[in-house]
């Protein structure tokens, strides 16, 4: 059984169809890259999987670990091991990053049947992970993402990911707007978590990130459907030839 299985998924936003019959299977241990032109539905897919309001599933099914995913509340998906690293992380003024991370980790641990972490153990763990993602420790004491630079926000996303150790991580254009150093940090985070029991979906617009994260599969999403799937060589081909040829072939 695949960890994630998406069948014929149709999604509309404000009555406008965005995903039009998407199929995707992701097995444990696999890293899938989803590429595609702007407006192809990449972020829609990421958000539907995380459970955001405002996305209407008009047809199709999604199973996570064999169980239907789409009726689960957002937090229940997270507790079962699904994680979305957001393209635009939200700023939460007044909410301490540290206490947010602690509550979040403990909510996930409770769901996994693990004991909650105490303040000391948590602090040790979060500092270690912050070093891993090269996030300035001072940012832990600030409000969540409040006044963070673009790169700091993304590092904070990756920090959450390595802290929460999800079974399925979805990175929604986490690489956009990042310099090479930050890109490497994101990739390191992903590679650290890479494990036969976990899977990743890396949504990206550029091939660049895939220099650091070697995907097992590359899919081209355009017009709300996956038009082509291949291995990492497909990403290189896209880099050289763009998306036009795939869309032409699909139209033909």
């Amino acid at each position: 059984m695949k960890m994630l299985s998406i069948e014929d998924l149709h999604v509309a936003v404000d009555g406008k169809p965005i995903l039009k019959g998407l199929d995707l299977e992701v097995g444990a241990g696999e890293v899938h890259a989803i590429m595609g032109p702007n407006g192809s539905g990449k972020s829609t897919l990421a958000h539907v999987l995380a459970g955001r309001d405002g996305y209407e599933v008009t047809a199709g099914e999604v199973h996570f670990d064999g169980e239907p995913l789409l009726d689960l509340p957002v937090e229940e998906r997270a507790r079962r091991g699904l994680f979305l690293a957001m393209q635009y992380p939200v700023e939460l003024p007044g909410v301490s990053n540290l206490s947010f991370l602690k509550e979040s980790l403990n909510a996930i641990r409770r769901a996994r049947g693990e004991p909650e972490m105490d303040a000391v153990g948590f602090l040790k763990r979060v500092r270690e992970k912050a070093r891993l993602v090269e996030l300035d420790e001072r940012l832990l004491k600030r409000s969540v993402n409040d006044g963070f630079s673009g790169g700091e926000k993304k590092r904070n996303e990756i920090l959450q990911m390595v802290l929460l150790e999800p079974r399925l991580a979805i990175l929604d254009e986490t690489d956009s707007g990042l310099d090479i150093d930050a890109l490497r940090v994101v990739a390191d985070g992903v590679n650290t978590l890479r494990d036969p029991s976990r899977a990743m979906i890396v949504v990206t617009h550029y091939q660049r990130l895939l220099d650091y994260i070697q995907p097992d599969w590359v899919h081209v999403l355009a017009g709300g459907r996956i038009l082509r799937s291949g291995d990492k060589d497909l990403a290189l081909e896209l880099e050289q030839r763009g998306y036009g040829w795939i869309m032409e072939e699909a139209a033909a």
Partner: protein, 445 residues
């Protein structure tokens, strides 16, 4: 809007009833100030919705409550002792139902610092600094302050000699306990900082059980030249209580005041902060947090008078409303013609957790001088749903997420509390209240 004869009638009968128990005795100056206030009370217009000051705050619930005259009888409830804060290095002055209770107070003598019940100050040294009593509040003519002045006899006196810095915070605990009949407590505080002195005064209002009463507090504070007063307050009265705080603050040249009020309790409460600058270089920082839920009305009134040049004021207030809660924010800053180089910045932000809550917010800057820096901003908004989603994707429930965001909104004010025990108490109270609010919001949504 027309004057409501019934409101006037009810106010007059409340006054009449309370005036049945005018305190006897006291120095001549005190008797004459009480008389004066009583006469003004008779001749002045009763508070009414036609007056801008009472336009959004219904007086009926307060005026309809039947309150016996005179202070409540002394209470011998063992739970009073159990309600006291843990021992600290500073002094604690306890008032039970508006009466100074020396048996529960812990006074730590410090050189140059006088801390005592107002009654003690009046009898021991009637011609000492206590003579300032009633002098700051008398011009305002606010009806409930006049009522207080007509009956003033008890409360707390804080006097700090020139150049003396009070080492530890002075804590004042207002404790309400159910009495045989609902009463009006009329405590008065007189806080006098001589030139160059400094102090922090921490006030807490709390109740045992949920008694019905009306706490009508008047605080007069005089901050001398170059003196600095910090004033941190947590109003967590009984949900059945009525509460008015009227602060009359005067800042002399280069005097500084930093005051923070969290209004969380009471079914009906009003906080009136009136500030006058008496000399250049004064700095006044007022901040506050109010929370209003079902069957709750919270009113914050500010009146900051830049009467002289070169003073700075900051007014930063945040409100959280849920259920059918109602709040009023009326912030007035007056910059008089001669008050050049004034700097005043007022911000009021409100978070509405329910469609049934209501806020009336009215920031007013009246600027008559031309060389000033003044601004105000008001926002009324809802919880950021993107923030709720973000937190839920990290495993937090919707209830937890909302509470966390509300706490974040409140924290911008609470982090200004310099007294750790008070800050912790505020956070715990807010967490409890907001938890309940988020759950209600969840059901509503």
């Amino acid at each position: 809007m027309r004057r409501d004869p019934e409101t006037a009638q009810r106010f007059r009968s409340l006054v009449k009833r309370q005036m049945e128990a005018v305190p006897a005795g006291g120095p001549d100056w005190l008797m004459s100030r009480r008389d004066q206030a009583a006469r003004r009370l008779e001749t002045s217009e009763p508070p009414d919705a036609v007056q801008e000051a009472w336009r959004y705050t219904r007086l009926q619930p307060l005026l309809e409550a039947d309150m016996a005259p005179g202070p409540a009888e002394p209470i011998s409830d063992p739970r009073v002792g159990e309600s006291l804060p843990p021992r600290s290095e500073g002094s604690l002055l306890v008032l039970v139902n508006g009466r100074f209770a020396p048996e529960f107070s812990r006074l730590r003598p410090e050189s140059g610092v006088t801390l005592c019940g107002l009654g003690q100050a009046l009898s021991a040294r009637p011609d000492g600094p206590v003579r300032a009593l009633g002098s700051l509040s008398e011009d305002a003519g606010q009806a409930f302050s006049l009522l207080s002045s007509a009956l003033m006899q008890d409360g707390v006196m804080v006097h700090v000699a020139p150049g003396v810095a009070v080492r530890h915070p002075v804590e004042i605990l207002h404790l309400a306990v159910a009495a045989e009949q609902p009463r009006v407590a009329q405590p008065r505080h007189l806080i006098l900082l001589e030139p160059g002195a400094s102090a922090r005064v921490v006030e807490r209002f709390q109740a045992i059980d949920q008694p019905l009463y009306f706490n009508n507090l008047v605080v007069e504070a005089l901050v001398g030249e170059g003196a600095a007063l910090e004033h941190e307050r947590l109003q967590n009265e009984s949900p059945n209580a009525f509460h008015i705080t009227s602060l009359y603050l005067q800042l002399q040249a280069s005097g500084r005041y930093r005051g923070l009020t969290a209004a969380i309790g009471a079914g009906w409460s009003r906080t009136d902060l009136r500030v006058t600058f008496g000399g250049p270089g004064g700095e006044c920082d007022l901040s506050g947090l109010y929370l209003a839920g079902d069957r709750q009305l919270t009113d914050m009134h500010l009146d900051v008078d830049h009467a002289v040049p070169g003073c700075t004021s900051r007014e930063t207030f945040r409100g959280i409303l849920d259920g059918r809660g109602r709040a009023v924010f009326d912030g007035r800053v007056l910059v008089r013609e001669q008050a050049q180089k004034s700097d005043a910045q007022m911000v009021n932000a409100n978070l509405m957790l329910s469609r049934n809550a209501e806020i009336d917010t009215k920031p007013q800057l009246e600027i008559l001088a031309d060389d000033v820096q003044c601004s105000h901003g008001t926002t009324v908004g809802q919880l950021d749903e993107d923030g709720v989603f973000y937190l839920r994707t990290r495993g937090l429930s919707a209830v937890q997420a909302r509470r966390m965001l509300c706490m974040g909104f409140a924290r911008e004010i609470i982090e200004g509390v310099h007294t750790p025990t008070l800050r912790e108490q505020m956070e715990a109270l807010l967490e409890a209240r907001l938890g309940a609010a988020s759950e209600a919001g969840d059901q509503e949504g």
